[in-house]
């Protein structure tokens, strides 16, 4: 009864239940944090990445999510002022690199315009924008664009101090030391500390996530706090 009411409220607020074809994206424990227990599609997510290392970690987690969305024949657009993505590397995260269109805009201003245009196009599955900053008004425009087209948008925000945005969520992904089986030397599978700092109608949280052969593996035990990060605070 209560659950029914809750989902009704969410639907009225614009959160549609997951469409049948896109149910493939399941994040296990993390799903608990989302409204309706499903990753919000047709919304704009913000990934806060103030350093190049953080951009790489965020892109890794994000492309893992996108890979699930883009199966089997989705197309994504990646907008930036200068492409830094190494296309062949996308394959390791389950995306066929030739199904991504890279748009290089001459200035930051055009990046927002291009992102809005791309988000309006129902032919796409996901749109990524690497931005230096985004204002509340601009993010609101993007959110309105996706509500029509059902495209999922991701913003990699490289601002050191991000402002409030109308995005549905704010994530912060940082690299964790990789683990190799049996403590063998060398570098193991990518591992991240995934912080969900803000989520509309959900509960923020923090998890330790590993990327293993085209799927996420979420560590069930308490994530370790690494030396450089402030202790985790319950946001929202």
């Amino acid at each position: 009864m209560l659950a029914q009411l809750q989902s009704d409220i969410l639907r009225l607020q614009g959160f549609k239940p997951a469409a049948s074809g896109l149910g493939a994206l399941s994040l296990g424990v993390i799903d608990e944090a989302f409204p309706n227990r499903t990753f919000p599609l047709a919304a704009v997510h913000e990934l806060w990445a103030p350093a190049p290392e953080a951009v790489a970690a965020s892109s890794g987690f994000m492309t893992g999510l996108m890979a699930a969305l883009m199966r089997p024949r989705g197309v994504a657009v990646w907008i930036s002022t200068k492409r830094t993505v190494f296309p062949p590397a996308l394959k390791a995260f389950g995306i066929k690199p030739d199904r991504v269109l890279f748009v290089e805009v001459p200035r930051e201003r055009e990046a927002l315009w291009a992102m809005e245009e791309a988000l309006k196009s129902p032919a796409l599955t996901a749109v990524v924008g690497e931005l230096r900053d985004i204002s509340f008004t601009a993010s609101r425009r993007l959110q309105l664009a996706v509500e029509q087209s059902q495209v999922t948008g991701f913003i990699i925000n490289r601002n050191v101090k991000p402002t409030t945005t109308a995005c549905v969520s704010r994530w912060r992904i940082t690299s964790l030391p990789s683990e190799t089986p049996d403590a063998l030397p060398g570098i193991g599978l990518p591992q991240w500390r995934v912080e969900l700092l803000r989520i509309r109608n959900g509960r923020p949280g923090v998890w330790q996530v590993q990327w293993q052969k085209n799927r996420f593996v979420i560590a069930t035990d308490q994530p370790p706090a690494t030396s450089d990060q402030q202790p985790f605070q319950q946001a929202g």
């Binding site: 790489a56 197309v75 748009v103 990518p190 030396s227």
Partner: protein, 497 residues
């Protein structure tokens, strides 16, 4: 039945100078040009002609006739550009305009006159508009360009020569009207042949013998027995629509409506021919004679009015109507076959074949330029060459993407120099410094040696290491050259996730 118009700008050069400075209109003035070490008169205005000055006269003689004659330097190149501009302006009367240097134009008016309510009105309108622009013109219309030229230059009352009546119109004209060489004209006059009717019926063999083949050719061109090759200043586009306006359009809404109407007309024609636009140009002919234009290109043939309109819409604001636009033209210089089965994929949706994706690409590239890339694998080991740009949205990969090697998700556009501490040869470094920050390396993999592809580029090999620092960040480093060479350098090339 073909109909041609010849426009003769009686005083083209002097009229143009008078437009720049209206004072010259009243006073007699001439343009001068050096010729064989002396100055000769190269152009005169009406007032100077009345005083007995003519073209080709020595400037000193002209000054003797009229001591207060005003003289300016001639600019023949500029005048030719003026003539070209006038030809472009005349495109509003017919899509086919040819230059007739130095001071005339030919218009192919076949099938155009009824739009102006008859040939008389058509020619009158042309004369009126050109006179209003400040040019003295003589306009004549006839069945052949030659006859029209003759009547415009030497006819008593230039105007419309009725269809089939050009022979009669030619008869009373002097031989100069046939555009003959001066020596031939001189010889004709010496023989007492002052009118065309006096020699047109003479035996052709005798005429050829006395005046040459060129003379007969000119005669045949005027009469219409030989076709005159003329080159239009702008080749006609097969897909081309025009929309003349009764009142000049100045508002943005007006321009939008005009564009929509033209697009509907064009797309209907394209649809019937199973064609689609790849490039299109929208032109607005302004009242002041300038032409404003915007162009678009599409990544695949399209005849969707709404899509093409959206592409133009972004640039529509750059059209400056000034005093108003009186003629809109839409041209499709590049069309391609557009078959109905392509339309079906639109229904299916999704994937790279989706029409809506192509439309998005068009919208983006029309605003920001050709900056949308799609990459395909290329069989090269050198990282920068391991992928290449795809030529189209549909191009398929010839080979598989490689997954057996580890590559970082983000790379630096140009590898950046770093300082490292690497005490043991061919072992990964212990720490490195990049942009003033020291990273202590905890874990590492490598080296992966990548040799230069000597058939493409010379240079040293790279030894790549994947390293992880104490904070868990993963980097892609390489050493250029051998450890023992002493000239080796270390670089940071990318960031792993």
């Amino acid at each position: 039945m073909a109909r041609f118009i010849s426009i003769w700008f009686r005083y083209l050069a002097t009229d143009w100078f008078s437009l720049l400075n209206p004072e010259y209109k009243k006073m007699p003035f001439v343009l001068r040009q050096p010729s064989h070490g002396r100055m000769i008169v190269s152009a005169v205005n009406a007032a100077a002609v009345r005083s007995g000055i003519s073209c080709g006269m020595a400037l000193a003689d002209a000054r003797a006739l009229l001591p207060d004659l005003h003289v300016l330097d001639d600019e023949p190149d500029k005048i030719q550009r003026v003539l070209y501009k006038l030809a472009e302006w005349c495109m509003r009367f017919t899509p086919w305009v040819a230059l007739d240097p130095p001071d005339g134009l030919f218009l192919d008016a076949t099938g155009c006159a009824h739009l102006w309510g008859g040939e008389e009105k058509y020619v009158q309108e042309m004369t009126k508009k050109l006179t209003a622009r400040g040019y003295t013109v003589r306009v004549a219309m006839a069945d052949t360009p030659g006859a029209a030229w003759a009547v415009a230059h030497y006819g008593k009352n230039p105007g419309v020569v009725p269809a089939g009546g050009h022979m009669e119109a030619l008869l009373p004209l002097p031989p100069e009207a046939l555009r003959l060489e001066p020596q031939v004209v001189e010889r004709l006059h010496k023989l007492g042949l002052h009118h065309i009717k006096q020699f047109i019926h003479l035996p052709r063999a005798a005429l050829r013998k006395r005046f040459g083949v060129g003379f007969l050719q000119q005669l045949d061109k005027a009469v219409g027995q030989e076709l005159e090759p003329l080159q239009s200043i702008q080749p006609m586009e097969p897909y081309h629509e025009r929309l003349p306006c009764l009142e000049p359009i100045v508002t943005a809404t007006g321009i939008e409506i005009a564009l929509k109407q033209l697009l509907e007309m064009l797309c209907l024609r394209l649809q019937q021919g199973q064609k689609g636009v790849r490039a299109a140009v929208f032109k607005g002919h302004r009242v002041d004679g300038k032409v404003e234009q915007i162009s678009i290109a599409t990544s695949r043939a399209s005849h969707q009015v709404s899509h093409l309109f959206k592409l133009f819409e972004i640039k529509l604001a750059t059209i400056e109507p000034a005093l108003g636009i009186e003629l809109f033209v839409l041209e499709a210089p590049k069309v391609e076959p557009h078959l109905p089965q392509q339309e079906k994929m639109w229904e299916a949706g999704g994937g790279l074949d989706d029409v809506r994706l192509a439309e998005l690409v068009d919208r983006l590239s029309n605003k920001i330029g050709e900056r949308i890339y799609r990459y395909l694998p290329d069989e090269h080991h050198w990282p920068e060459r391991s992928f290449r740009e795809a030529t189209s949205l549909q191009e398929e990969a010839m080979t598989e993407w490689r997954t057996d090697v580890h590559r970082p998700l983000h790379v630096l556009p140009v590898p950046e120099r770093i300082e490292v501490t690497a005490p043991i040869p061919d072992y990964p470094p212990l720490l490195f410094r990049h942009k003033g920050r020291v990273h202590t390396i905890v874990k590492a993999d490598g080296p992966e040696r990548i040799e230069q592809e000597w058939w493409l580029q010379q240079g040293q090999h790279r030894d790549y290491y994947r390293v992880e620092d104490d904070e868990g960040n993963r980097y892609w480093l390489f050493r250029l050259g051998h450890y023992h060479d002493e000239t080796f350098q270390w670089f940071l090339h990318g960031y792993f996730s």
